[in-house]
Symmetry: none
Subunit: 233 residues, 4 copies
DNA sequence: AATGAATGAGTCTTCATTCAT
DNA sequence: TATGAATGAAGACTCATTCAT
């Protein structure tokens, strides 16, 4: 009970942080605001989270957890081909991002950190408070969970014939993920409807998904030239 | 002459800024350091660049200019199919990023800003100093230059038969770009060879490019089943 | 029994505090650490000691008590001249300090407080929590206990002829004590063997004790020109 | 000239810091107060002194410089025996301390730091900001300057016969210094006129100096059994 | 006796920016 | 153009202390 109260308060702070990070960005959000918005004292915020970086890592951890939920839900759906799953995933990721832009920022930021982390020469550029955060350590553990599920989706698709058999699951999945992440990043800049450029989100998305499917499609799909519909979104 | 001296000093500051932003990041770089590294006074730095955001926007502008150069060089190459050009582009972008990670950061950051900018509801989240920067205004103008060239590459490929004719140039090009940008972001995190995940940069890149080509390939390519080599890189 | 349990817990906290103050210093030690190291709650620490200053005063009290033990043990030794006792004291104090540097710090700190306390103009500079500490009040009572024993040693020496008869016991003893205290303070800085300065602890100590003896020696000592050996240390 | 303005401001801050450290102590003095008392902005304080520790080290440096001045002035006096010089020194040090209690605190504090510094095992207990302070580095250089002069005083006394020839200058001088430092520390606690203890500053000082002289005196002094008067104080 | 969550005043420190010269 | 001393707002973080349970 006491422990549950503790978790509740911890969650409260986390939720407030997410809200503030979303609306004003990490940098522009002060610990003071977090505390005040959560109606607690500044000290208590530091009681639950070692420092601001630690809080951000906790948020990032939550983002990964929720993203993993998206991956898992799609993967658990019965009676869907691998290709359908990946199509769902693209739509699902976009929905996920829209619902909470902050999460995507956090995930991309973490990936940026991992670029530094995985290179001996640049690892020291990472702020030591990040490295010391317990949530960062947890992230090191779970960072590939989504990847593992995604790879299984491709394997599944290869087995069920919805995806070309010559495709290597790892390479293929990460290429798909790269597409989706890049799509997210470009959405917005490209949507700027001015001058000749006229690609809007609504226009691009189906074309984007179609291209992704074309890239993957196995022979089975030849009979169904229609765009595979995303089931969940 | 005076004007040229002025440009030289301006360029000096810009180069110093790029070097520092690259090695320590934008946030961790102080205007003091920029001035000291450039061997000029802090005041002079502010004479050439209104403020730190302005300096960053100038750097971003330079990044876009150089990226445009990459696009243009590839597009100008004679005797290459559209598909080859896009393949070159993928390799070229990766090389460009490796050579100066800062540029890619700046470009992605700008795209993030544009996401806010293109939405009436979020535009006010952009720091006013950014909006007031003359370099930001220039960026608004040139931001689609690369896109325009890329779209021409796809059109070219459709004409020369190296790319499927049913593909829409705009959608196709931005999807390609999304792939490349996402690839860049994932490189590093994914390269972490631990547990099951075993995709390294060297492994992924050819597979990635092959998938991209598969996605685009027209009938002409049927006779050349080999991976199209990048000419420039 | 309850009272004994209480004393045990109180002693536990005190011992932990001494250990921590010794290894990290008073300022750098937090009440949190004290509690955690003692495996009790923070609140309980405050149950036994009113506040941090109070705890420090308790530690200081213990230091004085132990120092008094050293004085008493030496004074109780049978068959030793006053000069021998004071020689023992010098060695004993040095040993005492080495064994627990914290104690010496606390004693010197208390003496610094007393400088303020004994001057009407500066007494208000002392933190009120110190003045209110019951242990501080006890210290006011016992602070001269060591002095009293020391003075008796000198008197003893005058009587037994080991110390010059013209020496005033009070002045003489406090001068001896000053020597010892100053010696402690200089040990370390002076030991730094660099440049011309070459006095090491091992070199200095016998010379120091010899000088002290020379200062005190009565006629009886003429027959024993050797350095009087410290009996206990 | 510009440089002189800089030095003036630096000196202003230093003087303010000394005044505040003296009246409220180092810990209780905030950088805010220093700035406000000096009528400058907080930022400027940090422009001249890297941080609070650095400022304290600068104060300590000044203390050592002034103390060195006291040593030098006494040593330069013509026609005085070594014993007279050391007597002057004792009085001079006491005067010096009284005039600015803060200086003595700083000097003793530095000696405490040196105890840690000269021991490989404890050096890491010193705050890194202290180690990084340029003034600390200067202190490492000059810390023995006073010692060197003092040793010369003893040597001088040995030559002129005012000090026993068998005394080793180094050991003797540092023993003298230890006496003086300890005397300073005890002054105050001992002066507390309560109960039996009745030694006051005025009572102790001449006795203390007499003892010191007895400890040192060579044959020449036999003819002048009076207490050698301090010339400067 | 005992807990440990909660408080909040207090401080150091940073740094973009300005301006007198 | 050029300098660099000066500003001051802003923010992260600490920790002794309290109190409801």
């Amino acid at each position: 009970m006491a422990s549950s109260a503790r978790e509740k308060k911890s969650k409260l702070i986390l939720d407030v942080a997410i809200k503030l990070f979303t609306s004003k960005g990490y940098m522009a959000t002060t610990m003071d605001e977090v505390a005040k918005t959560a109606n607690i004292s500044k000290g208590l915020t530091y009681f639950y989270f070692k420092n601001k970086e630690d809080l951000y890592m906790a948020v990032t951890k939550k983002a990964f957890d929720e993203l993993k939920g998206v991956f898992r839900d799609i993967f658990k759906q019965k009676g869907r081909t691998g290709l359908q799953m990946l199509t769902d995933l693209a739509s699902g990721y976009i929905t996920f991002t829209k619902a909470n832009r902050m999460y995507n920022e956090a995930i991309l930021n973490f990936m940026g950190i991992m670029q530094l982390y995985n290179n001996e020469l640049t690892r020291n550029q990472i702020h030591h408070l990040i490295l010391e955060s317990e949530h960062f350590q947890k992230l090191l553990d779970i960072q590939h969970d989504c990847g593992r599920i995604g790879i299984q989706m491709v394997s599944h698709g290869v087995k069920d014939g919805s995806i070309r058999p010559e495709l290597q699951p790892e390479v293929t999945f990460y290429t798909i993920w790269a597409m989706i992440i890049g799509y997210e990043r470009l959405t917005g800049p490209v949507g700027f409807d001015e001058k000749e450029i006229k690609i809007h989100l609504d226009n691009w998305k189906p074309g984007f998904i179609k291209l992704m499917q074309d890239m993957l499609k196995g022979t089975i799909q030849a009979q169904k030239p229609q765009v595979v519909q995303a089931s969940l979104f």
